[in-house]
Amino acid sequence: MKRRLRRIDQWSFLALVLLVGIGVLVILSTTLETPREPLFKRHLVSLGAGLVAFTVMSLFPYRYLDALAVPLYVLGLVGLGLVLAIGLVGFGAQRWLSVGPVMVQPAEFAKLTTLVLLARFLAGRTVNPRRPDVIARAAFIVLVPMAFVLKQPDLGTALAFGGLLVAVLFWAGTPFSWLLYVAALVVTGLLTYRLPPVTGWSSPPVSGSVAASGAWLPFLKWGAFLALVLLVLRFGRRRRRLVVATLVAHVVVGLSAPLAWHRLEEYQRIRVLTFLDPGRDPSGAGYQVIQSEIAIGSGQLLGKGYLGGTQKALAYLPQQHTDFVFSVVGEEFGFVGSLVVIALFLLLLTRGLRVAHLARDRFGSLLAAGAVGILAYHVVVNLFMTMGLAPVTGLPLPFISYGGSFFVLSMSLAGLLQSIAVRRHGY
């Protein structure tokens, strides 16, 4: 036991302790003398739950997760299904399940269970992560819970599953070019989603109006992009079958993106559009981002001092204890404090990659890489969102944001990393 304890990854443990400590201070700051006061006590409760989760996960021999992977995954799906069936409604979406006095977000739990099954699948001896059918099956494992989450609807969390998939596939050995093909498909989607949806092959897209108002420009852009992709493939001397498959895939995406867009919830569309043009939604997300930028910027070099934030003290900063908690860090601790927090995250994540590298088996290695992927996705998207670099997708900041389920998930992932670290030389 003692020897094991000495083998924990000390640097990432230190970063974790400091981040959680900073989180408690900031949550206290946002709740002091406000109507949010009772939230601080609740945060202390989730803190306790998170510590328990961290301890249990780091002590648990992770190889047993291999046997538990399928039941856990099914349990995660059941939780997500229950949310849709009987879940509580909040902020226009169903995300919570109430278990006795506790409100649980099964989507956070599902991130962990999906990771475990994905790692187990790709750790298989005969599984070759370069084969398209393997990639498709891996994607299927992730897409099922992702679809549930999208249905809730929670865009940000659903995209986190995508981040998980990319990280684990890459770590497993899927060639980078494959990921580039997927990226190219995403670009096609972005170029085409605003086009009028084509519902049948025979019916032309909203006759007349398209050609008349110069709306053919997006078609032109998309065509140019497709030509570029084909040129690259041609000069890369790829096989003809691949070229044809790519072309077909792009056409399918190009036609289905507008359909998907029209099926999105209103608020999700507004969020995406607001990102592209922040001035269009003064009351909602755009306002949040502007106020967040003002808060961070006004912190200047050293910040306004702990408890000294003025933006924070007002209602100007909505969700400052949850998704926008970093803007309070920026306001009260300034550039220096923000750098410290960012450095701590970088330390934690790179040490996590080290754990993945040194893991004693492929399963542990993939688990660690996935854990880093989930955490990194949340950190980067959340930081970018509060600074106005990414759309407001509603993702919390690991270890710092208020929010029980996500805090417990983050601590579990940190615990999982330690579990893999201490067992790197054997069980």
Binding site: F91, A167, P282, L346, F384
Partner: protein, 623 residues
């Protein structure tokens, strides 16, 4: 696949790639931070401290409430409201804040301690500015505006305030509004409600709040260091509030006025000892028996909903709350009375249906009382009615005749017919808080008093509408409608249609008349003849209700009140041949139905004839 060394190198390469990706992403974040905090830091500091953007909620005006001819019953007026934002940085220091409160209080003629308490309470509830006073007069507005530099955090805004131009008219039906309860807010948020919203608290305002409420807008104001609005933001477009839908009621303003006047004139219409006079306590309502449209509804004592809209002070509230006559209660749907002799039609239907009697059947004569076991059951007329047929017993409301029917039918026989008429059930009227009645059967009596705690004699009391029986006035009104229209159950309805701000009409889905007594058609025809006799026969108890130019059927009722004088009840419908409208009147502690309630009904029906025939004719009861 790969040998272990190859795999090691492969993983190492991937680790480096991912580290590089993370480094690049974090470098972008750091660069952005540098840009925000160092390069543009002073600009942002400036914006955060001196030139801040304040988000102001523009409260949507509630939809209006109109009568069936689209005459205004409820609308809004613009009112000056003074607010204080306790989260304004300028007043973050408690001493500064208390100084502001101290200076503001005399300007708007208020007590500073009370104001301070209100601010502290509200500060723990929401981030919104606190509304300190509504309906500011112009001099008050001028005084506050003048002192504005010394009053950081204080603002004067124009807000829509609910207005009830007819004061107490139909107050219980229209209902009241007030600021949303923080406890309700969480559940209401997904529906577009926000803290500080004015919402319906009772009556139609509550029932149709989702339609009336509308959608709030927002406006952005740039504010200076003193908390004074400098100008509307040019960067952010305001979002206009969308008013709520208008509600068009089935209520008819003229008939409502006439019914209120009739109820209020009860002192002038009646005389007699042993009854209370003065303050009127009771309810009355008018129903279209074919459709269920409620045309008028009165409850007494009344209150003025304007007092709620303006924000009620503790004293006024305590007066209303502690009044023993409970003015806030809508007696038409929320008070329960024994129906008294109004119940006799139902008993007669049951007796005819069971084959015990027919219209002409004469039972044992009434000698003023009837001995049953150990007890003597008395008729209201001590002198007795003599030998009567069923028709005469209804007309003269002879109790002894109905004691005998009660004995024949038994407790469950009576309850069975009551359930067929749905008389104890909630009527489904579109008002909150409607209470069901109580129709006791043998199971109920046993559970209440024990197997030996009650005797068959209970059926005698129930047969004259006393005992444990309880009904609301609206249930009696629907019961009258069912008798009058030949056995069709109607659902009383107040809201006829809604109109969106764009002028789009929406009819309210309503339940049509449902036949519930199809096989009793002939019996009901006979009953209506008897009810006509109540008004027109020489000895009819309802002759006080007779009105020239109208044929009418009706029934008086007197409901025993253990706490004082009896309650007077009267129900009627017109015209007798092909009934259209039904009216029920319930007056608490006013004695005999024929003496107190019937004259009130007559006063209303006279006004109704005048309105129908008058030059300002409200031609037909129907749009």
């Amino acid at each position: 696949m790969m040998n272990p060394r190859e795999r090691g190198e492969h993983i190492q390469r991937r680790r480096h790639v991912l580290t590089a990706v993370l480094a690049v992403l974090f470098a972008i974040a750091v660069f952005r931070l540098f840009n925000l905090q160092i390069l543009n830091g002073s600009t942002h500091r400036d914006r955060s401290e001196r030139n801040r953007l304040r988000k102001e909620v523009l409260h949507a005006p509630r939809g209006r409430i109109l009568d069936r001819h689209e005459r205004v019953l409820v609308d809004n007026f613009a009112s000056f409201v003074v607010t204080l934002d306790p989260y304004d940085p300028a007043v973050r220091d408690r001493r500064v804040l208390s100084g502001v409160v101290g200076r503001l209080a005399p300007l708007i003629d208020r007590d500073s301690t009370a104001m301070w308490q209100e601010i502290t309470a509200s500060r723990r509830r929401s981030f919104l500015p606190v509304r300190l006073e509504r309906n500011l007069t112009e001099p008050e507005v001028a005084r506050v505006a003048e002192a504005a530099p010394d009053l950081p955090g204080v603002a004067i805004r124009v807000e829509p305030v609910r207005n009830y131009p007819h004061g107490t008219l139909a107050a219980h039906v229209l209902g009241t509004v007030g600021e949303i309860d923080p406890a309700d807010l969480e559940a209401a948020r997904p529906l577009g409600y926000e803290a500080g919203d004015v919402v319906g608290k009772s009556g139609l305002e509550e029932q149709y709040d989702v339609l009336l409420h509308g959608h709030n807008g927002v406006r952005y104001v740039e504010v200076d260091a003193f908390g004074r609005a400098r100008r509307f933001s040019t960067v952010w477009d305001p979002e206009r509030p969308v008013p709520g839908d208008d509600l068009v009621l089935t209520l008819d303003l003229d008939l409502q006025r006439a019914l209120e006047a009739a109820v209020d004139s009860v002192d002038d219409l009646t005389s007699g000892p042993f009854v209370e006079r003065g303050r009127v306590v009771g309810g009355a309502a008018l129903l279209d028996v074919r459709t269920g449209d409620l045309l008028a509804s009165v409850s007494r004592p009344a209150f003025d909903p304007n007092a709620f809209a303006a924000g009620m002070d503790e004293y006024t509230w305590s007066l209303l709350r502690d009044d023993p006559d409970k003015p806030l209660l809508n007696r038409v749907v929320q008070s329960r009375y024994p129906p008294g002799s109004i119940y006799k039609m139902l008993v007669a239907v049951a007796a005819i249906d069971s084959g015990f009697v027919q219209s002409g059947t004469v039972l044992k004569p009434c000698l003023g009382a009837m001995r049953y076991g150990e007890r003597a059951f008395r008729c209201w007329r001590a002198a007795g009615h003599g030998a009567l047929s069923l028709t005469q017993s209804i007309e003269q409301s002879c109790d002894v005749y109905f004691y005998q029917l009660g004995d024949l039918l038994g407790v469950n026989g009576l309850a069975h017919m009551a359930h067929r008429f749905r008389i104890g059930d909630v009527t489904g009227i579109d008002l909150p808080g409607e209470r069901p009645g109580l129709i006791p059967d043998e199971t109920y009596l046993t559970s209440r008093y024990g197997r030996r705690g009650w005797s068959r004699g209970a059926a005698l009391n129930l047969a004259i509408g006393q005992g444990e029986l309880l009904t609301t006035p609206i249930q009696l009104l629907v019961h009258t409608a069912v008798l009058a229209n030949g056995g069709d159950l109607v659902t009383p309805t107040l809201c006829m249609a809604t109109r969106s701000p764009d002028g789009e009409w929406n009819g309210r889905a309503r339940e049509g008349a449902r036949p519930i007594l199809g096989d009793l058609d002939r019996t009901l025809t006979a009953i209506r003849a008897m009810m006509r006799g109540v008004i027109e026969a020489e000895d009819g108890t309802g002759h006080n209700a007779a009105v020239k130019g109208l044929t009418m059927g009706g029934k008086t009722g007197t409901s025993q009140n253990p706490h004082g004088a009896d309650h007077a009840l009267f129900t009627s419908y017109v015209p007798a041949e092909d009934p259209e409208l039904a009216l029920v009147v319930v007056l608490e502690r006013r004695g005999h139905g024929g003496a107190a309630a019937a004259p009130v009904a007559a006063a209303f029906w006279r006004a109704y004839v005048a309105i129908r025939n008058g030059p300002m004719a409200v031609a037909e009861a129907g749009p």
